[in-house]
Structure formats: structure tokens, C-alpha cells
Symmetry: C2
Subunit: 371 residues, 2 copies
């Protein structure tokens, strides 16, 4: 079995272990985004040292440049990027819907234009699997239809039904036994559609289940409602992945409902804009109050940044536009996320997750300068 449940059951927080061809992922786990094959600004060694076991690469980006066939020739994504641990790739669908300047959805797939050179491509369910097979990732996602927000129940139902038909086509062409194929539950903010999505996917059977189509504009309450009502419907013996989430609060809240996997650009993107997470709250390193501050970013943190540099130096690097500043910020933020997940896993295993969550949330006060 690729997924082993160590603590928790069908409802509530779960402590698990996801076995892949390239190693084991302790869950709940956070995946940083390595869109084009690199977690932005960081080396594979630094990502590993931040406590990260699994990364996400974007099929859309890699398909367009350098191309999946070229990556296959070079030995696959692991050999190409130097990341030897497990990799999850998405189907490319989400980026087609959010980045491509033109796109037309038909039953066949999505016809889109590259944002790089305007060339036209068809991404079908079969093509998405074939591309990910060429990439050689460990966990792969089927093409789904990602509708915008808000949409009507009828439109959401249409996208869900198409997603289920595409899921079946994806499963039918999926052959690689060492690639774990997940199913993606669509259905917008409508609990009845989410339930129909879960049942449709479970009839087909997948190695794991993802909640998709969220974080596209809904309120936090709407997302929480969907996660709370949908997660318990999923089979307990399969990993559950909440796509594109999120802030530390969002993650801690979703863990309560039994989510095992998360991905988000937040720690890396925020690192590059100077928005930093600390155990005592958030801050933006640009703030004038840090100009003469000799203390580390987060005295409680053990990352390279916090062990060697002051807030004053990080602010100086940021204002001077030095790449090292972007690196050190990103490294710290990713370490914060890695550490958060480590604490989450331990708290679940030790049976005091609610106390852990409350304690972390009480210290995540917002600094007004955090953007």
C-alpha cells in the first residue's frame, strides 16, 4: 500500500506515511512549488534541509520549456533537476486556465496558446498523462476542468461531470505502476456536487484524492465548509491533497479535517517580496524599524538565515536588490513551513493537535507591513 495511516481515522487530523518510488513522505506534508524545475532561488540541498520531502513541478511550464521529450531524454525530471526525492506534477490544466492567453475547452481537451510564444497546443487527458510519464514524476494528476469563481450550480455541475469523464480517460491510459495517479474532486462551493465528485472518482479508484478548484476567489469560510464536508467522504486509506493551499492558518485548519498534502507558492513568493513568517508573527523586512535591528529574523528558528544574519542585513540586501536577500528570505520561509509541518505531525502523533494549532495561531499575529 502506498499510504500508511499511523494515527487518526476517517475524520479528524491524520498522521500518515506516503511511500513513493523515490522515498517516503511523512504526512501531513507541504510541497513547495518548483514550477520550472527549481524551487525559486533555492538549491535541492537547501530545500531538503528545510525539512521538505516532496516538491511540485508544473507540467504546463515544463511541457512548453524545455519540453517533456527533452526532459525524458535527459533521464527524467529527477536527473534533470537534481532533486532526488519524490516529485508531484500537476496536469497542466490549472496553468492553462490561469496563464494561457487563449483557451478553448472541448470534450477532447483544452486548446490553448502558449504564454511564451503564442504557439497553439492541445492538452487532452491522455496528453497530460503522457507528458507526466515522460517527466517521470512520482505522483501525477489527471487533467480537470478548473472553472472560475463564482459560477452557477449548473456550470459547476458541468465542469464536474467533464472532470469525471476526463478522470476516467486518464485512468484508462495510466500504465506506469511506479507513478501514483490521484483523482481530483471538483464541484465548486456546492457540497452536493463535491459529494457526487467523490463518489464518481471512488468508483474509478485512484491512488489518492485531491480537492481542486478551490482558492480561486471563494471566502475562507466557503473553503473550510467544502473541506470539512468533503474530506470525510474520501477513503481513509488514501492520501488527501488540498491543492493550492495555503497560509499557515489555512493549512492548520484543513489538517483538522484530515488533509494530508498541501502545496502553495506562498513561502517562496512571499520570500521574494520580503514578507516573512516568524514564530512570533509576520513581518515585512523592508520596514524602517529593522534598519538597526541586530537580532535574527526569528530567534526560535534554526535555518541558515537565522543562524547567520540579522534583520538589519536582510533589510539592507532587500533594499539593495541583492539576490542573496531573496534567497535567504525564501530559505527562511520554506524552513518555517517545513517546521510547521514537523510540529503538526508530532502533535497529531502525540494526540494534542488542537492545542498545537491554537498555540501556533495565537502567535501568528499580523504585522501591518506584511502585504
Amino acid at each position: 500500500m502506498p499510504f500508511e495511516l499511523l494515527a487518526g481515522g476517517p475524520t479528524g487530523p491524520r498522521r500518515g506515511r506516503l511511500h513513493t518510488a523515490r522515498g517516503t513522505v511523512e504526512t501531513p506534508a507541504f510541497m513547495p512549488c518548483a514550477s520550472v524545475g527549481a524551487v525559486k532561488t533555492l538549491s535541492p540541498q537547501e530545500v531538503r534541509d528545510a525539512g521538505i520531502a516532496l516538491i511540485l513541478c508544473n507540467t504546463y511550464h515544463l511541457y512548453l520549456r524545455p519540453g517533456h521529450e527533452q526532459i525524458r531524454e535527459l533521464g527524467g525530471l529527477h536527473a534533470f533537476t537534481g532533486w532526488t526525492g519524490p516529485i508531484l506534477t500537476d496536469s497542466g490544466g490549472y496553468q492553462v486556465f490561469s496563464l494561457a492567453p487563449l483557451r478553448t475547452v472541448t470534450e477532447d481537451g483544452v486548446l490553448f496558446q502558449s504564454h511564451l510564444d503564442g504557439a497553439r497546443h492541445l492538452l487532452s487527458p491522455e496528453k497530460a498523462i503522457a507528458v507526466q510519464q515522460a517527466l517521470g514524476s512520482d505522483i501525477i494528476m489527471p487533467l480537470d476542468e478548473c472553472p472560475p469563481y463564482p459560477i452557477s450550480h449548473e456550470e459547476a455541475a458541468g465542469a464536474l461531470e467533464r472532470t469525471l469523464r476526463w478522470a476516467e480517460r486518464s485512468r484508462d491510459v495510466h500504465k506506469e505502476s511506479d507513478q501514483l495517479l490521484f483523482g481530483i474532486v471538483q464541484g465548486g462551493v456546492f457540497p452536493d456536487l463535491r459529494e457526487r465528485g467523490v463518489q464518481g472518482l471512488m468508483r474509478l479508484g485512484f491512488g489518492g484524492y485531491a480537492l481542486g478548484g478551490l482558492s480561486v476567489g471563494e471566502s475562507k469560510a466557503e473553503i473550510e465548509q467544502i473541506v470539512m464536508t468533503t474530506a470525510p467522504l474520501l477513503p481513509a486509506d488514501r492520501p488527501r491533497y488540498l491543492m493550492g493551499v495555503g497560509t499557515p492558518e489555512d493549512i492548520l485548519n484543513a489538517v483538522r479535517f484530515g488533509i494530508d498534502l498541501f502545496d502553495c507558492v506562498m513561502p517562496t513568493r512571499h520570500g521574494r517580496t520580503g514578507n516573512l513568517f516568524t514564530s512570533a508573527g509576520r513581518l515585512n523586512i523592508k520596514g524602517a524599524k529593522f534598519a538597526r535591528d541586530p537580532s535574527p529574523l526569528d530567534p526560535a528558528c534554526q535555518c541558515y538565515t537565522c543562524r547567520h544574519f540579522s534583520r538589519a542585513y536582510l533589510r539592507h540586501l532587500f533594499l539593495a536588490g541583492e539576490i542573496l536577500g531573496l534567497r535567504l528570505n525564501t530559505l527562511h520561509n520554506l524552513h518555517f513551513y517545513g517546521h510547521l509541518m514537523h510540529g503538526t505531525r508530532r502533535a497529531i502523533a502525540e494526540g494534542h493537535y488542537e492545542a498545537f494549532r491554537a498555540d501556533v495561531l495565537s502567535r501568528l499575529s499580523d504585522d501591518a507591513s506584511f502585504e
Copy 2:
């Protein structure tokens, strides 16, 4: 004595050891440029791992931002930057002459406008020493007049005489016994002026001697002529520093004439534009021929980049604008320079420097794509 000569004498290549308050520098040595307090894109640990013992920081940049008093308050440049090894700072003069939008030279000093905010500042010889004292660097440079190229013998003589008067004022206010003050020989491309410069400085007495005002437009032959005729005039028991040089060829050639220290932005700047040094010649990683090249940048190199990544991946990162690509390129180039100096020192110690130089130069063939 701060400088120990291990092999070689008043003429020819020298193997030495420069002792500073923060450690020993084996010479000949190359200093990368850490303009605003960071070797661009790299962490202090990575710089050290590239075989670098000494870095150069720009007083002009640090004086303007974050300010020398702020750095002093934060414990000096070493505590601020996290670089625990020796640091050389320049006087700020060269950047005033090359970067400041307005500048007026008087006997008092140079009145200039900041390129950051247009504010007016006076940099005098005394001020340059005081700023470097606040920075707490290990080797400091006096303010000199850096004339443009070409200039007449008369103009060069004027700049030289002023530089000597400023050198005396600098020496007179220099108090810190753990900061080594160098003298800077000016005199343009005129051997008689260079000789007068050496004699003037030696009368004053400095901890080391630098050849300044070169690499501003002269031909390679002119520079070589000046280095060849001036270096042997300098005291053998003091380190000799050729400022702003240079390419691997320039360094290897100047070592022949007894130069001990070099600095240049070349390895770091070229790294950020994809121009890479290898033991088999130069290349630009953008080249289409590297798109499917699984081999390391330089199979003979032991740096992190060459041990983990292919040319195809480095090209991909560069074309995608990924910061990791700039880092890996810079890391490799700096490692190339560190390794070059290591080989230089060993060859001098073992008495076969000329054969080493000829061998390296024979392999430094230019690739047309190297910019």
C-alpha cells in the same frame, strides 16, 4: 610581519602568506567583489567553499547605504555580512569617479553626488579612512585620484602628486593597528610617473602596495608594460595588489611579475550573464547546442554546480530567468577562479609556474558565444 614570502623574491612569481586580524590569506589570491556586503548571489559559506579567503567590499556603496555608522553599530562589516574571514575595503574613490553623477575634485577631497538619491557628500582622505575604520575591514585603501584614460603626461603627473599628498594625509590619520593600510601607485601608462609614485609611497611607508588607475581603457600591452616595470620596484616584503584585474589570462600574466592580490567583478558578473569559465575553454550557457547536453559544465570541476547539474539544466534555468541559474553559474565561475589561484600557488611553490601558466592559457580557448 603581516606578509611572509614563502617562495620567489623581488622579481618573478611569488608565493606568500598575508596575515590579517581575521586569518591568513595564501597568495597569490583573488578577491571577489562583495560591493554592498555580499558576493552577488552567494552565501558566505559558498564563497569560502569556492576557495576564497579574502573578499572586497566597496566603501562607496556601504557609505551611502546602509551607512558606515550603522554598520559600526551593528558590530562592523564582519558581523553585519556574516563573512568571518578577512575583508579588504577600497577607499570609495574609484566608484565616486565611475558611478557618481557629479563630482568635483579639490585638494580637500572629492565632492560628489550620490547615485542613489542625489545627496551631496565630501569624500576626503581622512573621511575615507574614518569610514573604513567604522566598517572594521582588515585591509584598507587610501583615497586616490583616478584619472580617466587617455590623459597627458602632465595630467597624469598632477593626479599622481595629489594621490601622494592624499596618501600622506591618509597615513597620518590611520591609527588602527589591526587594519593594514596599503598605498596606491598612480601614474597612468607612464613608467617614469609610476616609478615616482612608488618612491613617494615607499618614503611614507605602507603595509602593502597597490597598482591603481589601470583597466580603465588601456591596451593589454600597456597594462602589462606598467605591471612589468613597476612591480619589481616595490618592496619585496610587502604584498602587491593589482586593482581591478582581471581575466584568468591577465591574472596569470601579472603573477609572472610578482603580483600577489587581484580583484575583479568578472567571475560574478559573467556568471549572471551565462558566461562561464571551464578548464576546456569558455562558453555561454545560452547556446542552443547545450539544450540536450547531459554533461556537467566542466567535468574537471568539483563545485556543487558541476557535481549536481547538467549544461542542459543550467541553460534551461538561465532561459527561464530562474535565480537558481544565476547562483549556480556564479558559484561555478568563482570556484574556477579559486581553483586557478590554488593551482597558481602550488605551481610557484613547486617551481614550475611558467609551465602551469602555458598549460592553462593553451586551454582557455574562446568560444564565440562568450560575450
